[in-house]
């Protein structure tokens, strides 16, 4: 679960990580008041769950409270489009107003779990302010990495060594090591999947501050953090992904595809996407209905797929285990009739009650092509798409 910068900033502050003075504002008038309280230049930042805000005009450095008000007014309520948002952008409902730090150096610092190391790691780089993936690609040597131990955590000596390797001046080594230790505590105690400070800055007056922060919380651990679960902002989610999540489905919209996929199992769903391309088209979505989806969940899955205007055909691939494919067929038929969607459907149904499921679909009056294997489904899809193109 992603949270906003202002929420991440508060969590960091709670854990003793120095952050710039500032507050979050819902209105431009509030933004002005905050800027007045701070005094001096401030930065006004759109609060959206997407990177690339700066280039998209979502971050403005201004000199006066009036300018802050104007900057906030120009950001709030207007769709912000970045490479990480949907094409229509997302609408910022809040702005962060914070002191504009006088930056001497920009660093990068993050904590995450490393699957290979089977432990949390802290990564840092002297190349702050840029995307870490870029650094990893172009300057892997610039990335410094220390592992935590599951028993003793992130040893202070390792945090100190990391600070030294970042080339910090002697008087900042200790504060930086403390900061790294606090970042790690936050990461583990709140079950984060990512805590990223980018940039972590050294100011001209010799402080070290988390200037921007990104925190992602582990969905699977929110049950033990009810306070954090409340930080969720549904405004930031893709509407379809949100609907899918509510129905217990795992759905990811893929840009530019025209074949809607409905599959049970994540691996089979990816395989189904892959054979879609093999059949000459791009998948419009990833959709795993899970191992034991109900008729209703299947119907909702169908509705979500067809609500995507780019979808021209549907590929259903269900391998029934606990999942009963006859129930799934009923769900599909009900949703198709309800939505009036008349898209061609390629169906591969195997496993529990598959014959009955296929029979129900064949007799439903829907435009269904049946297949009995993954390659058969690819062939059928190729045919259907060829028809559609005609």
């Amino acid at each position: 679960m992603k949270i906003h910068e202002y929420q991440a900033r508060q969590l960091l502050a709670d854990y003793g990580v120095p952050v710039p003075r500032g507050e979050v504002a819902d209105t431009s008038r509030d933004a002005r008041r905050i800027a007045e309280d701070i005094g001096g230049p401030v930065v006004v930042k759109a609060q959206v769950h997407a990177g690339g805000r700066g280039k998209a005009g979502g971050v403005k450095v201004v000199g006066t409270p009036l300018e802050a008000e104007n900057a906030a007014a120009s950001i709030l309520g207007r769709p912000l489009v970045t490479p990480q948002t949907p094409p229509g952008g997302v609408v910022p409902r809040k702005v962060m107003v914070a002191e504009a730090a006088q930056i001497e150096r920009e660093l990068f610092l993050a904590a995450l779990v490393d699957g290979e190391a089977r432990a949390p790691v802290v990564m840092a780089s002297t190349e702050g302010g840029v995307e870490i993936e870029e650094v990893a690609e172009n300057n892997p040597d610039k990335i410094i990495r220390v592992e935590a131990d599951p028993l003793v955590g992130l040893s202070p000596y390792r945090a100190r060594a990391l600070s030294v390797k970042l080339g910090l001046p002697t008087n900042l080594v200790h504060p930086a090591a403390d900061l790294i230790g606090n970042l790690y505590r936050l990461f583990t105690e709140k079950d984060c999947t990512l805590v990223e400070i980018n940039p972590l800055v050294v100011t001209v007056d010799g402080r070290i501050i988390a200037l921007d922060a990104k925190i992602e919380l582990e969905d699977d651990a929110l049950f033990r953090h009810p306070d954090l679960a409340r930080l969720h902002d549904p405004d930031q989610d893709d509407e379809h992904e949100l609907r899918a999540a509510r129905a217990g489905l795992s759905y990811v919209k893929l840009e530019g595809g025209r074949v809607g996929c409905m599959v049970n199992g994540a691996g089979l769903a990816m395989a189904t996407m892959d054979i879609t391309r093999w059949a000459g088209a791009e998948p419009a979505n990833f959709l795993d209905v899970g191992g034991s989806a109900s008729e209703d969940a299947i119907a909702e899955a169908f509705r979500i797929i067809v609500s995507d205007p780019e979808v021209e055909a549907i590929l259903v691939n269900l391998f029934g285990g606990i999942l009963r494919t006859d129930g799934a067929a009923r769900g599909i038929i009900a949703a198709a009739q309800e939505t009036g969607a008349d898209l061609p459907i390629v169906v591969s149904m195997r496993g529990t009650n598959a014959e009955e499921g296929r029979r129900l679909l064949a007799e439903s009056g829907l435009e269904v092509t049946s297949a009995d294997s993954l390659s058969g489904a690819a062939d059928a899809l190729r045919e259907v798409l060829g028809d559609a193109a005609r």
């Binding site: 699957g115 199992g265 089979l268 690819a378």
Partner: protein
């Protein structure tokens, strides 16, 4: 035991809720020797009027000699159940449960170090072995048949797909192992590849990988020097965009190494036969071992 399980497998099922009970029934129908259940508050009862249920895993092991455990308990309690089964001294623990918090798994995996117990999963379909009629987990029994192909996979339903394709071409399985879709998991591709290599009942191996992490690269490293049997491999997720999680916690492209193309290259360089489409697993295997 042959690969992980065998005729001597004495199964303990922890968590007899809806899924655990349903799957235990299916597994018993198939023929597995389920000797014990563990479900707090139900100690003293019997599952299907036949299998004793205990309050704790250690009691179950002491009383029944169970040597393999399977875990169906809900995610918030799964890590504790694994530790309980480790402490009870089981040889093998198969954790079906999905959504186990990753920091729980960090501790569980560290806890396992130096202990005799092997963990499969979490978030995996488990193991099925037709020759001994042992089913530990949720792989549907009706799709497998006895044969000489070992199947190892990160994914559940895709494993079933691969099995179906093998059947289509007249081949059966020695043992099928789902290692699970989470980034932190107990048993790796490499572990299972080594078992298949040493298993006299296995002639060839199907390996099904996906995007995310570098497990397939590790497998490729091992295949280079450690596997003489033919390996047919499929990597799914070629069409997945970077940064988006495809269902499985581990199925996300976060760097170049996590891409399907990198994994395919690594496996091809190691001598594995990587199919271009996941639809061709069975055909490729037939071409190889006729």
């Amino acid at each position: 035991m042959s690969v992980l399980v065998g005729p001597d497998t004495r199964l303990l099922v922890q968590g007899l809720g809806r899924d655990g009970s349903f799957q235990s029934s299916r597994a018993r129908e198939y023929g597995v020797n389920m000797v014990a259940g563990v479900h707090p508050g139900r100690g003293g009862q019997k599952f299907e009027n036949a299998v004793p249920i205990f309050e704790s895993a250690s009691e179950a092991v002491d009383r029944t000699g169970a040597n393999v455990g399977v875990i169906f308990v809900p995610a918030p309690f799964a890590a504790d159940a694994i530790i309980e089964q480790v402490d009870a001294g089981l040889d093998l623990i198969v954790t079906i449960t999905e959504h186990v918090p990753v920091l729980d798994m960090v501790k569980v995996l560290a806890y396992l170090e130096g202990k005799k117990t092997r963990l499969i999963g979490p978030n995996c379909p488990g193991i099925i072995q037709p020759s001994s009629r042992v089913k530990v987990g949720i792989i549907p029994a009706n799709i497998v048949q006895e044969g000489r192909i070992g199947v190892v996979s990160r994914s559940g339903t895709l494993t079933y797909e691969a099995i179906a394709q093998l059947s289509q071409y007249g081949m059966g399985e020695s043992t099928c192992v789902g290692i699970g879709g989470d980034p932190l998991h107990g048993t790796t591709f490499t572990d299972v590849l080594e078992m298949f290599e040493n298993d006299p009942d296995t002639d060839a191996i199907v390996l099904i990988g996906e995007i995310g992490g570098t497990r397939e690269q590790s497998a490729a490293e091992f295949i280079k020097t450690g596997v003489t049997k033919p390996v047919v491999a499929a990597i799914v997720g070629q069409t997945a965009p970077p940064g988006k999680r495809m269902g499985h916690a581990g199925a996300i492209v976060t760097g170049k190494a996590a891409l399907a193309s990198e994994k395919i290259d690594a496996l091809r360089n190691a001598g594995a036969h990587v199919v271009n489409s996941p639809a061709y697993i069975g055909r490729q295997m037939r071409d190889l071992i006729g």
